[in-house]
């Protein structure tokens, strides 16, 4: 049971959040310009590392804000959470 630090509300129980998968995948500006493979890459292909992973979370039962986290997928340690737009 993770304890996740919402960048606004502070540490809250995992049950207040929803994980949105890999972070920093920008929607292509002009999808029509992409070929099928490039589009599939955006829609479906994801990194799935064993180790540190940058992922998106939303504080769905709290302030409903999306943010990013760096979490280790083996130890589950979260070394940092940060607001969208922050590197």
């Amino acid at each position: 049971m993770l304890l996740i630090r919402c960048p606004w509300c502070g540490p809250r129980d995992e049950t207040e959040f929803r994980c949105g998968g890999e972070a920093h995948i920008a929607r292509p500006g002009d999808p029509q310009a992409l070929d099928d493979a490039a589009w599939a890459e955006y829609v479906f292909m994801r990194n799935n590392p064993k180790g540190w992973f940058r992922e998106r979370w939303v504080h769905s039962a709290g302030c409903r804000r999306w943010f990013n986290a760096e979490r280790h997928t083996v130890t589950h340690e979260i070394r940092r959470t940060y607001k969208p737009g922050e590197p």
Binding site: L3, P31, Q32, D36, V58, E77
Partner: protein
């Protein structure tokens, strides 16, 4: 006083005798006894039968590690089966029964398995019962099942309810022994919020919240721990802790020794014997032999003598002597040492100590094998945890030399699973030398105690058998729960009506009072139809809407207020259609797709102002759509100035539909000639309202939205005003029927996550000249295929035939085959909605059919039991 109860001492209350029964015999114990201590005090040593061989078993321990003395306590719906007698607090009137025996504990026919024990070695079942094949399931497996298991499950539901608590603290101390109490006091003195949990009752500690009879069973990420609190009769409450720091003072478990017949009643852990003497004032024997491989055995012997047990001998393996086997049947009568025999009625095993590192290991703490103390000790953990006292391997002056096994028949390693030392050797011989393989092959560590008494001995024997040391051999992962937890406690009070919240609209009580049958739509209760008989009700409701007037509670529809400079631009990206061109005061139907191009919600959105929209969603999609909008706004397009606010519950929605709807609206005070798909703010029946002329049903229809608090008042006003028009309230079933007559889709019924807007024939709702979520996916090779499944109408050849929804469609006239072994029949689609329409005077259906649009007029078949229904493919619009 009974024969084995000491005249004085112990923490029992001799002034409070308690009657209890075991296997129908009445006994007496005292307040402060456990069932185990009370049975021992009454000279009851045979308490159970073992799992596989049905060997006689007695009390072995005085704690949670007990794996022999499993009994059923209680009756009826309050039957607690497989209870450890050592953990059952005695109470007056307690009823206990022995388990896993037939016809009786004394004479158990299952013990015949013992005669076949040379056959029933580890993994025997993998090697046999294969021929003839059909006998496995008809004969062998049922036999195995009958013999296996321990107690019976209760036959009745549990009348008790259970509680849950969340607790935050600075320091959580697990274990109320000396080390735990010291740690708790110290932290409390430093001003910290401290909670201490103990399996028993450690008494009060200043400034510490002490939870007695509370067993911490799970240690999860980020110092989240779970515990179960019991009273004398049951586990009653689940605790969730979030602690800044955890102190584990969980002590150590004594290990048994592995020698012939070490499982007989009367063979006990030495520490347990001392506990029974000191704490319960019970002498579990008159004449003991102590068997040890370390210093503690000698101390125990001194204590026994002091407390009144005669010690016939201390057999210390370090001195070159061992017990090879025990004598006796249902009770130990002596031991064999070398060639000679020593008479005794109690054998105390002092095999050394294993720190209780279960929780530490669950916390992802690492363990290290200590070659001197012969045990695993904590060796570093990422989480904020400290281990103190014996749990940390801090034993008092303690010398031990390995004695893992005395090679003999019936030398038990795992008592609960009936695993003997020879099984360990067999597993090693057959290549199951990885600890995990060995565990699975022999089932070691998988019984009630989950290896608390067996794991280290088994591991050491395996190490010896495979020529490795223990550190190399490793240990299995400790997993929650440390002690078994009842399902009821885990479920807590979230049962029955609390399993999922029941959501109701402001008009709910009216519906209930007027005979509505309710449908579960997600968490909502929606009126399904009004009346006793669904068929009659729906026919009448549907007829009424088309002929005169019907009214629907549409309050559950999702509603989202969207405003901001970029609101229109935002909607253009969200919806497949264009909303920036929508005039103020007008509304438009829209489809939302996921990025993979598949339809995921639909609804009508009205433009209230230049930068202000009122969106509606499906009932089930309300929360999902708002999340979707927020996700895109916050993560993809933060530059858009748009705010979305859920107003689902702000507005109660009354939809009036039917040819008389216009008249009704006038009578309610709405004089405006509102064109189709338009919106107006107005006062209806004296209530400020938003009126939309939109239609679920294809009839002349108005959706009146008023603040939720006024919903019931509006509904009642509509009913009164509508009376002369024969207004009929209708439910979701009729709504579906009316929609289907018009070919309007229902997301989740006509769609299943694999359907595009084009598949539905809704090309008109897809803009060609702008990007929107999912657009790119619509031009992939598979989504472009001409022969995709497309929405069509079906007319059964028999106009009374209502096709089952979900039924598959074929090109050939076949009955539904038996299934197994029948030749596959290609399917071309399935029925998504199907009704008998009073307005058409016949049945009809919607379906998704491969190349459906090009099949108009064609005949297809719907295979049913024993026959196929013939259907004609038509346009999915039945009432223009």
């Amino acid at each position: 006083m009974t024969a084995f109860r000491l005249a004085e001492g112990g923490r029992i209350d001799r002034a409070r005798p308690l009657e209890f029964s075991f296997d129908g015999r009445k006994f007496q114990g005292f307040q402060g006894d456990t069932l185990a201590s009370a049975l021992l005090a009454n000279d009851v040593f045979l308490v159970g039968r073992s799992f596989k061989y049905h060997r006689p078993r007695g009390v072995m321990s005085a704690g949670i590690e007990e794996t022999n003395a499993l009994v059923a306590v209680g009756e009826g719906g309050r039957l607690d089966t497989n209870s450890r007698a050592t953990m059952v607090e005695l109470y007056g009137g307690l009823v206990a029964r022995s388990l896993n025996r037939w016809p009786s504990l004394g004479l158990d026919l299952g013990a015949i398995n013992g005669w076949f024990s040379p056959l029933l070695v580890a993994g025997f079942y993998y090697k046999t019962f294969m021929w003839p094949r059909r006998l496995w399931q008809s004969l062998y497996e049922p036999l195995i099942r009958r013999v296996a298991g321990i107690g019976e499950a209760p036959a009745q539901p549990d009348p008790d309810r259970y509680d849950k608590m969340h607790r935050h603290c600075d320091v959580l101390v697990v274990g109320g022994g000396r080390a735990g109490r010291a740690a708790a006091s110290e932290a409390a003195a430093a001003g910290k919020r401290v909670v201490l949990c103990d399996e028993g009752d450690p008494g009060a500690i200043a400034k510490v919240e002490v939870l007695a009879r509370t067993t911490v069973f799970g240690y999860y990420d980020d110092n989240f721990l779970c515990a179960v609190e019991s009273d004398a009769r049951r586990q009653k409450r689940l605790w969730h802790f979030r602690a800044k720091e955890v102190v584990l003072a969980t002590g150590a478990h004594e290990r048994p020794l592995v020698f012939g017949g070490n499982d007989k009643p009367g063979v006990m852990l030495a520490g347990a014997v001392e506990t029974y003497l000191r704490r319960y004032a019970v002498a579990p024997g008159k004449r003991a032999v102590v068997f040890t491989n370390n210093d503690s055995g000698h101390e125990r012997a001194r204590a026994f003598r002091e407390l009144g047990i005669d010690v016939a001998a201390v057999i210390d393996s370090r001195e070159g002597t061992v017990i090879t086997r025990t004598l006796g049947g249902k009770r130990v009568t002596g031991v064999e040492v070398g060639g000679s025999r020593i008479a005794c009625d109690l054998v105390a095993m002092a095999g050394g100590f294993s720190p209780v590192v279960h929780l530490y290991s669950q916390a992802q703490g690492k363990l290290r094998w200590d070659e001197k103390k012969l045990c695993f000790v904590p060796d570093g953990c990422r989480q904020a945890v400290r281990v103190v006292g014996r749990a940390n391997g801090e034993f008092p002056e303690y010398r031990i030399a390995p004695l893992w096994e005395v090679e003999e028949d019936k030398a038990f390693v795992d008592f609960g699973s009936d695993v003997v030392a020879r099984d360990v050797h067999l597993a090693a011989r057959e290549g199951f030398s990885s600890v995990e393989h060995f565990k699975r092959y022999t089932t070691t560590g998988m019984a009630a105690d989950q290896g608390k008494t067996s794991n280290i001995n088994a591991l050491a024997i395996l190490a010896g058998a495979t020529g490795r040391n223990i550190a190399e051999t490793g240990t299995t992962t400790f997993r929650a729960p440390y002690a078994p937890v009842s399902y009821g406690v885990l479920a807590g009070r979230d049962l029955g009506d609390f399993l999922e919240p029941i959501r109701v609209t402001p008009m709910h009580d009216w519906h209930a009072a007027h005979g509505a049958a309710f449908e579960n739509v997600g968490q909502w209760k929606r009126p399904w139809y009004y009346g006793r008989d669904m068929h009659d009700a729906v026919q009448a409701e549907a007829r009424s809407v088309r002929k005169s007037l019907g009214v629907l509670d549409a309050s559950t529809l999702g509603k989202i207020d969207i405003q901001g400079r970029d609101a229109a631009r935002f909607l253009d990206r969200i919806y497949a259609g264009t909303f920036s061109t929508l005039a103020i005061g007008r509304a438009r139907y829209g489809l939302m797709c996921r990025e993979d191009g598949m339809v995921f919600d639909d609804g009508v959105t009205a433009r209230l102002g230049e930068n202000h929209f009122h969106m509606t969603t499906t009932t089930g999609g309300a929360a999902r759509v708002l999340d979707w909008l927020e996700e895109y706004l916050q993560t993809e397009w933060p530059e858009l100035e748009v705010y979305c606010t859920s107003v689902t519950e702000q507005w109660a929605t009354v939809a009036v539909a039917g040819p008389r709807a216009g008249e009704l609206m006038k009578e309610l005070g709405f004089q405006t000639e509102l064109p189709f798909m338009a919106f107006k703010e107005a006062t209806i029946a004296g209530i400020g309202a938003r009126v939309f002329r939109i239609s679920f049903t294809g009839e002349l229809s108005y959706e009146i939205n008023v603040p939720g608090d006024q919903g019931l008042a509006l509904w009642k006003a509509v009913m009164i005003a509508g009376e002369k028009h024969g207004i009929t309230p209708y439910g979701t079933e009729t709504m579906h029927l009316l929609r289907a007559e018009k070919g309007f889709i229902i997301v989740g019924q006509e769609t299943d996550g694999t359907v595009t807007p084009y598949d539905l024939g809704l090309d008109w709702a897809v803009a060609k000249s702008k990007d929107f979520i999912g657009r790119r996916s619509l031009t992939r090779p598979d989504t472009r295929r001409e022969d995709r499944k497309q929405l069509v109408g079906l007319l059964p050849a028999d106009p009374r035939e209502v096709l089952p929804e979900g039924a598959q469609i074929t090109e050939v006239d076949v009955a539904l085959p038996r299934g197994h072994g029948s030749k596959p029949v290609p399917m071309v689609g399935h029925v998504t909605s199907s009704y008998l329409s009073p307005n058409l005077g016949r049945s009809f259906a919607l379906a998704l059919v491969r190349s459906g649009r090009s099949r108009r007029g064609a005949e297809l078949f719907v295979p049913l039991q024993g026959r196929a229904a013939k259907v004609r493919v038509v346009e999915p619009v039945f009432i223009k």
